[in-house]
Structures are given as structure tokens and as C-alpha cells.
């Protein structure tokens, strides 16, 4: 069985509404994939961080720019794709090394990497595509 999530919205650094929409749709997908609440919340946190990065870095805080999120789960994995038309992501991708505990930034990629064991990025036709994949066998046993 394959479940599908699709959310399209526009960037706005001061908008709170997309969080609620993403929470509703993504938590439903994650639970359908068999994730327990803590693991589903870890997935939600990671996708929120990825969207934050698009708004803050790819679009540099500019409003009204397109963000597309697509999610699927199959037997073996949960996959989330995030697309935007902002600045290309610098490579290599951050490793998610833990930030200093007293730092006031630098935790986003740690949260992303903790929830998704496979992360890939490509730039296709002036579009950024970040793909986050979580094997479901692992997902069922940890948060």
C-alpha cells in the first residue's frame, strides 16, 4: 500500500498556519506508516526544520515563494520530498554534528539527520529537491 501526502504553500517567515497543516497531514502519514507517536513527532520536527531552511536560506526570508512537500510510504520506507525554487543548497550537506549546548543556532540538521537516515539533494531545472528517507524497519524501533 502507498499513502500519499501533498502540501503546497508559499514562504512566509511570520506565518504559523503551515505548521498546523503539515502537522495534521504528516502525522497522519507517519501513523499510517506504522510509526509510534514519538517517532512520528521526530519526523514532523525534521520536516519543519527542512522547511525552515528553505524559508530562511533558500528564499532568504522572502514571502510568497513556492514550497512543495510530497510524502509517500511503502512497505519499507517513508519518503518526504521538499521542493523550492530558491538559492541552491551549499554542498556538501551538513552532517548534523551536534551544536554546542549553549549555542542559539545550528541544531536543525541534527534534528533532520536524527529522523531520516538517508538524505539526498539535487538541483533540477532551477528547483531544489531535498529527499528525506526513513527505513520503516528502523522507524518502528526508535524515536
Amino acid at each position: 500500500m502507498t499513502a500519499i501526502l501533498r502540501i503546497d504553500f508559499e514562504s512566509d517567515p511570520e506565518d504559523l498556519t503551515w505548521y498546523a497543516l503539515l502537522e495534521k497531514e504528516l502525522m497522519t502519514l507517519a501513523r499510517t506508516a506504522g510509526l509510534e507517536d514519538m517517532a512520528a513527532m521526530a519526523v514532523l520536527c525534521a520536516v519543519v526544520e527542512a522547511v525552515n531552511n528553505i524559508i530562511e536560506h533558500a528564499y532568504e526570508g522572502e514571502k510568497g515563494k513556492p514550497i512543495k512537500i510530497a510524502g509517500t510510504h511503502e512497505e519499507t520506507s517513508l519518503k518526504i520530498e521538499l521542493r523550492d525554487r530558491g538559492k541552491p543548497m551549499p554542498l556538501p550537506l551538513p552532517t548534523g554534528t551536534p551544536a554546542d549546548v549553549m549555542a542559539t543556532s545550528g541544531r536543525g540538521w541534527q534534528i533532520i539527520r536524527a529522523a531520516f537516515t538517508q538524505v539526498s539533494y539535487e538541483r533540477v531545472n532551477d528547483e531544489n529537491l531535498l529527499t528525506l528517507t526513513r527505513p520503516l524497519a528502523d522507524a518502528l524501533s526508535d524515536a
Binding site: Y19, M38, V101, R107
Partner: protein, 111 residues
Amino acid sequence: MKLEHRTENNVDIVALPNRLVMANAAEARSDLKQVIQQGSGRVVINLSQTEFMDSSGLAVVVAGLQAARKMNGDVHLAHMSDTIRALFELTRLHTVFQIFDDEADAVAAFA
């Protein structure tokens, strides 16, 4: 946004919102900093209403701790949900905050 704030036994008690995320973090950070700088530096952050926090929200709490410590104070956290506790443990922030189940205990720990 104005954070809910009251004072009890010379301890500032601040409640964070339902969602503390990039969209409202800057305002929350400014409000919290103002409360701390105008108070004793002894702060309890009540998380009973807070269901979701991202890394921007974590930064608000860390900035509060920095401000409190500049005043030789501290920040105690109370009523943290399991999911936010997991986020604190992932980012090791549980090692720099005293975390209490109950707000009254968090206030009393300053005595």
C-alpha cells in the same frame, strides 16, 4: 505576542505558547529577554501549553538561560511534554537545564 508572565516569590514564571517555532521565535525571545532583564534572573519557564517546538524555539530557551546566567540567575523548566523532552535529549539541552514535572517544584528549587 506577549508571553504570559507572573512573579511568585521573586521568581519570574513565563508560559510559552502552543507552538514555539521560527515564525514566532524572535518575538518570544525578545519578550523573554525583557522579562528576565527586568526581574531577578530567576526564571521558571512553564511548558504546559507547548506542544511543538523547533530549533528556533530551542534557541529562545537557550537565549533565556544565557540572559539569566548573566544576572547570576538560572532558568528552570516545568511541565515538559515527552516529545519536547526527546528534543531536549537529542540536542543535549537536558544537560544544562533543571527540568521539573511541576511548576511549584521549579519555583521552590530557587529557595
